[in-house]
Every structure is written in C-alpha cells, then in structure tokens.
Symmetry: C2
C-alpha cells in the first residue's frame, strides 16, 4: 500500500493545491473529512453498499480526489478499523501490568469494551460481519481483534479455574459475553453520558451471570473503581 500524505493539524490557513469545485464548509483536513464521511456511511449502509462517490460527496470533494489521500476504497476501511481497535489494545496493555483478580479484571474489561463500542465513532460494526476484511491488508487488525477476544477468554478461564465463576464452558461463555458487549453495534452511536451507566449494567450482568457468589459483586465493583 502506497504511502499517503499525513494530515497536518495546521488549520484555518488557506491550503496548498487547487481549490475545490465546491469549497469545503468543513475545516477538517481532507483525510479526516474523508474518514468522517466514510465512517457514517459504512455504519449505516455497510461497506459494499457504499460507493466512493457517496463518500466523496459527503466529504466535499470529487470522487477521484479520494485516491490522492487513500490508495483504494479498502484502504479507507482499513484506516477506520485500525482506529476502532486501538483504544482496546491500549487498555489491555495497561491492564496487563496491574495483576488484577479475574473477577475484577473481567468487570473492568466489560465496562471498557462496551463503552468503546458505544462511543468510538470508528466502530462501524462487528468485524465478523464485515467479510471484506478477509484480505491480507487486514492481518494486523485481525491480530488485534484476536488479542482482544482471547483476553476475555482468559479472564473467564482464570475465574473458572480459581473457583470464582460457575464451571461453564469457557469458549461458549466468551462467545456470549463478547456478543453482549457488542450490543451497541447496529444501534446509533451513543454519547459518553448515556453509555456509562449502560456499560456498568452490562458489566454487572456479565459478572452476576458468571459468579458463584453474586453477593461478592459490590466488593468487585469497589475494587474495579479503586485506582
């Protein structure tokens, strides 16, 4: 994939290059405007059903101009999905250095992932239902996704092994828990304001569903909030 110019955060100055046919009402750098437009369209119509002309119009330029910023339509999708998983990867990295108990770790994980899926504009749907991410360009994304998913599985497995959770089938429980956390997908993006209590409720549902002794939940919540 070719190297593309990076967005300069320089704003309000008249930009280099030929002016647009219809001047931008949006002061975002062009590549950001394109990602912004593409996100919304991919989310509402899907990738395959969105044309580059639709993206260009929403971004305020002509269709061939897209290809000055992204080498292909697929490259736009790739940029978006990479941004979608980035916060979760960072979270997992920072959590791994904490050494939390499985129940507390799972509570924090559930709350964070749900919130990211509800509020991160780059989240455009379940990757499992984006078949166009098969291509080789998405290997890094899939590695990230796999890491996020296996982190959930290991939290559940650790909780079961420690006797904190019911002796469930770990693979099935991870699948179902992850699906629950993906509830915000398909729904319109939420404000952080509304997402927070819903994320807490999701984490509670998951923990209560798995815990051998649900009375321990308040203690887990306290430990999760303590920092």
């Amino acid at each position: 994939m070719r190297i593309m110019p990076s967005s300069t955060s320089d704003r309000s100055r008249r930009r280099v290059g030929r002016p647009r046919a219809r001047p931008a009402q949006n002061e975002l750098p062009p590549d950001q405007a394109i990602l912004d437009a593409a996100r919304k369209l991919f989310r509402s119509r899907g990738f395959a059903a969105t044309s580059t002309r639709q993206i260009a119009e929403a971004a305020g330029l002509r269709q061939p101009s897209l290809f000055h910023h992204f080498s292909s339509k697929t490259a736009i999708l790739q940029a978006i999905v990479d941004l979608a998983v980035a916060p979760e990867l960072a979270f997992i990295d920072s959590e791994s250095r904490r050494g939390l108990e499985p129940d507390v770790a799972l509570y924090r994980y559930a709350r964070f992932v749900y919130t990211n899926l509800a509020t991160n504009p780059n989240v455009i749907g379940s990757p499992l239902q984006f078949p166009e991410t098969d291509a080789g360009d998405f290997k890094a994304f899939w590695r990230a996704y796999e890491r996020i998913y296996s982190t959930l599985k290991s939290h559940i497995a650790a909780g079961v092994a420690a006797g904190l959770f019911d002796p469930v089938d770990v693979d099935v429980a991870a699948e179902q828990t992850f699906a629950l956390l993906e509830a915000p997908l398909g729904r319109p993006q939420r404000s952080a304001r509304r997402a927070t209590p819903a994320a807490r409720q999701a984490a509670v549902l998951v923990l209560k569903g798995l815990l051998k002794e649900p009375r321990r939940l308040p203690g887990i919540q306290a430990a999760a909030d303590a920092d």
Copy 2:
C-alpha cells in the same frame, strides 16, 4: 411484487421446461436451490457483495434464470428473512397462551431464540446490520422483528415489576440480552447437537444476571422443562 411459481415437491421426475446448460447435481426444486445458494453467500459475503451471477452459479443455473423464480435480487433476500423469523413468531404465539411467570418465560424465550439463531439456516445475520432491508417490501419482516424484540422487553419489565429481577433499566437490559442471544450470528451455523447446551448456558447467564435471588434458578429451569 409479482407472483412467482411455487415449488412443487414432486421430485425425481424429469422436469418440464428447457434443460439446463449444465444439468443439476442437486435434486432440489430450483427455487429451493436458489434460496440455499443465496443463504450461504449472503451469510459469508453479505447481501450487497453477493452478485446474482454468484447465486446462479452456486444454484446450478444461469443468471437470468433466477428471475423466473424471483422477481429481483431483493425478493430472494425477502424470502430468506421471512423464513428466518417464522419459527420465533410461532414460538411467541404458542407461549403467549401459557401464562408463565416472567422468569420462566424469559428462560424459555432465551433458550429458544438462541437455538433458532444457531441452527436455522435462514438466519443470515443481524437485521440491524442489513441496511438493504429498509425498503417497503420488508415491512412485514420488521413488524415480526419488532414483535420478537418487544416480547423480550415485556418479559424483563414484568420480572422487574414483580420484584423477581434487579431494578435494571429495562431498555438497556433488553438490548444487551438480545445481543447476547445473537451470539451465534457471524459464527458458522451450528448443529442442533452443539447448540442445545450453549442455548441453556445462554439462558442461565441471562437469568442469573437478572435474578434478585439466583438460587431460584434450578426451580425456574425445572418449571421451564416441565411440559
């Protein structure tokens, strides 16, 4: 939408009409073969990314011949999604005449819906992520979907009102529970053999997560199985 010939269940007899260019190795009636092929392609590649030529090839005939059985590509999708929700509608109808307690009703609902989504080949993905179902032809489908969803919501609301469940936000709980039950989507279709214990585990997770007194679960399961 035009009226299309219905599938005769007459088999093994040589069929009326011009023979195929490449004779069928599949003894299904043509419309069933088309639906069969389309289901698999829609599930793996999505609707927009699947061409009528791909469907035709998989079904064993030429692309224009599809339109003798279905008036449009969209009509194929419509037939599939209608078949996807039919079992759930029938279940809801039969359950409504039972007058079960909210907790038992929710357990049975969760188990059934999960199983249908895991085993019904007509389930090709979350309708929320099939933007092409916006069109007017899908009104009946969306009415059905709405009914299925609101049934879940009323089970949860009734349980909360009766003091059986925690005082959760009903809308949020319904959203999250429904997402959990949609876990089988995106994953390859499961055999009934494997789906049954997973469905039970999903129902347990939901009930334990909501119940004020999780110890009541075995009693609920017994009542749900009694018939």
